[in-house]
Amino acid sequence: MKLRVDYRASLRLVGTVLKYLAVPLCFPLVVALYYGESVLPFVVTMGVTVLVGTGLERLTDDPDIGSREGFLMVALTWLAVTIVGAIPFLIEAHGIPFVASPIHPESTLGNPVNALFETMSGFTTTGATVLGDISFNSHTRGIMMWRQLTQWLGGMGIVVLAVAILPELSVGGAQLMDAEAPGPGIEKLTPRIAETARALWGAYLGLTVLEIVLLYGLHVTGNAPNMDVYNAIAHGLTTMPTGGFSPEARSIEAFSAAAQWVIIPFMLAAGTNFALFWHVLTGDPKRLFRDTEFKSYLGVIGVISAILAGILFLGDGLMSVAPAGETYDQLYLEGIRTAIIGNVEPAVRQSVFQVVSIVTTTGYASIDFNAWSAPTQYGLLFAMFIGGSGGSTGGAVKIVRWYVIVKSLRRELFTTAHPEAVRPVRLAGRAVDERAIRGIYAFTLLYLVLFFISTGLLHLDAARIGFDVSILETMSAVAATLGNVGPGFGVVGPMGSYLDFSNGSKLYMVLLMWVGRLEILPVLVIFTPEYWRR
């Protein structure tokens, strides 16, 4: 461990990652060319990434990454790609003085804070949006594709991707991946960390392609009329990272039941530890169902879905009168009531889709769940804290932490009666290190503290500007941004947006998304004096 932080080394590697961000920018550029749209937003951004990137790379020749440098590099990388990634949105709304005129000046992303929010929401796979109008009337297809691509890049981790393809990162790769990878600890699948990163990205890419093919297949066979090539790619790019940016204003509600059923298993896969897929593909498929976390993950989703499906089927889960000022009207409500109540398939589909979407932190909606009644909404709010598995693309606290917490609390009860008893907490038969348990407690407590403090702050700020939100709405907004879920309830519901919060609140939520994606500690630590001290 070094005594001081070598920030130059960190910045240099941030520069390398930034430089290579020009490569994925080619994709929306091609989309723009295909649809005959302006390529300027992407060309300019590519120029900026290469320029800034190579500039930062000159800071030092021989970056040496320790664990402190790792935290800094990871945290700054996410901030840097967010800032640079916001440029196409700004150019779309403002154009470039003396060179190009604005393409869609009415876009809400013309406000830099909004552009930053949307980009951070994309890269962190949150899926919370500040778009005023989600349609191709006020945005080009290229820009929307960039918005979806940010989620795909952020899903398995920009830094993991960098470790996988950039040889200069392989030495400190384990530190970097540890700082970024969701869940406690990383699992080395192969002796070389770069190969592990490649294996994870390989599985991620494979599943994405498979989903795109299946979704487009539904369209071709006439089972999903709206799922054209653009939509198939867009949803492939936003399902696997548990992102939730749909180019459709009605999210997945815009598609057929068949398309919704196809998306469910992919969301489930996205919330699964990707290391398990690697084991399955390398000849140990039983490992999937031996895995304690995977079993608890399916169990939790199964139980909550079954309860919600029951309430929806009986009709208790749906409101009967639409409140004024909602994002839906009485007609919509009557429609879903007749479709769901007393009908098994829609009741099961809607509850499973929503529970999987929230637990995995994808944030898609196959229905406007603002129209659900209070108990079902609280069920979903509760689900926002669960999260996917460690090593998945999901956010929030994660199943494995809850599992360890429940087991260690049971241990506490036992040792209260038998003070001398020594009981290790077991995860799949193996004892969990006590330090890891402490870390899990610290993380979860910090998560909840951050949740309550942030709810208070945002609620105060909303009151200050006279923005009328209920406490449930604020709580859901914080849970959805900190947990990288995306939609909350009420104004920030699945068909709503975060647009009406003040700029200050939105910047604060940018911080929440950033901190939440990197699992709090790696970001917070760089704000402590102890971190910088000798």
């Binding site: 038998h418 001398e420 008893a421 020594v422 009981r423 290790p424 004892a431």
Partner: protein, 445 residues
Amino acid sequence: MRVIIIGAGQVGSSIAADLDETHEVVVIDCDPERVDELNYSLDVLALHGDGTSVDTLEEADVERADMVIASTDDDETNIVACATAKAISDAFTIARVKNTEYLRTWQRSEKAFGIDFMVCTNLLAAESIVRVVGLPAARDVDPFAGGQVQMAEFEVDDESPVANQTVSEADRFDSLTFAAILRDGEVTIPRGDSVIGPGDRVVVIGSPQSVQGFASSVSPGESPGTAEEVVIVGGSEIGYHVARLLEERGFKPRLIEHDPDRARELAEMLPGTIVMESDATDVDFLEREYIGDADLLVSALDSDEKNLLVSLLAARLGVERTVAVIDTTPYVDLFEAVGVDVGVSPREVVAEEITRFTREGGAENVALIESDKAEVLEIEVDAESVLAGKPIRESVATLPEGVVIGAITRRREFITPRGDTVIEPGDHVVVFVDSCVIDDVTPNL
């Protein structure tokens, strides 16, 4: 047979003492004083040297040896010694180890390390302790014929319903044979009218069910089986294996270990055991955890004296039965006399196991009664055996006093031996043999 024993510690010396009358024994040890002492006390050739060195082994004439037994206290030395002996001779090699990892490696490929037979002290001791758990009042239990036959030694106390009954009165089980009554260290072969006195020990051989049945008729108050609550004191290797084996049999034992690190380690290795970190002589703790209510307490600490203390303390708190691990073999009788119900000596257990390889006549399995008063042997009968093809009544008449046919298994079926039962070649016979006649009898069987 020429036997080379490497290591003249307690195990090595006791094996040497066991074999010196009937075999040519060479003992190698690196302690010159012990070598000197052995040369005087036993009829063996004791050599000073390192058992792992080729020179020393050649000096012991390993090329002519039939068997090499490596029984030092150090696992690695024993393994290397056997491997070395194997490299320069054809002798049958036996290694004693403590670490069960080596045993597992060896079991995986029985050629590993150039060892023909490996005995694991700690595992054997734990196994013999666990066998006692299921049978109330049993002092010693040994399985034969792949578990089809059990030999058990019971102590009959004043309150037992069996006390003062004759053998034919006590024998209410079809497949049970009374092999011997031990009284004041004397072995008597019982007849139908022999009376079982209080304080006697009875050796029975039979099917596990009938032995179990007899166990409950000796002490009807104690219920055997998985309901039994077992406390293990001391997380030594033996304590660990006892807990592990009990877990395998569905028990949920409690294990008390003083050292925090070892307690944690044990708790990680034993998911079905409740590990407690405490001093087992802390009476407050023992009372708070109701240790006195336990049916059985196994004391497996690293000192004999502490084991005695813990056993006596436990008995005072009300534990039904105590089993103590006793390292110093001569203490076993003494401890059992002062109040430990069962004393298990790991070294004795190992000696028993090794003895089976020194027997001529193809004994498959051996159990020693009262250290060396008598032996129970399992024999696969071949055509040349005096037992083959005749009713038992006739064949026993040709054998000296002190031989009892305890049980027969034929193609893994249990057969109760009666006077007119005819033993066929290929049968497995479990025989009780008095030590005085063992050397005359075994070659004929």
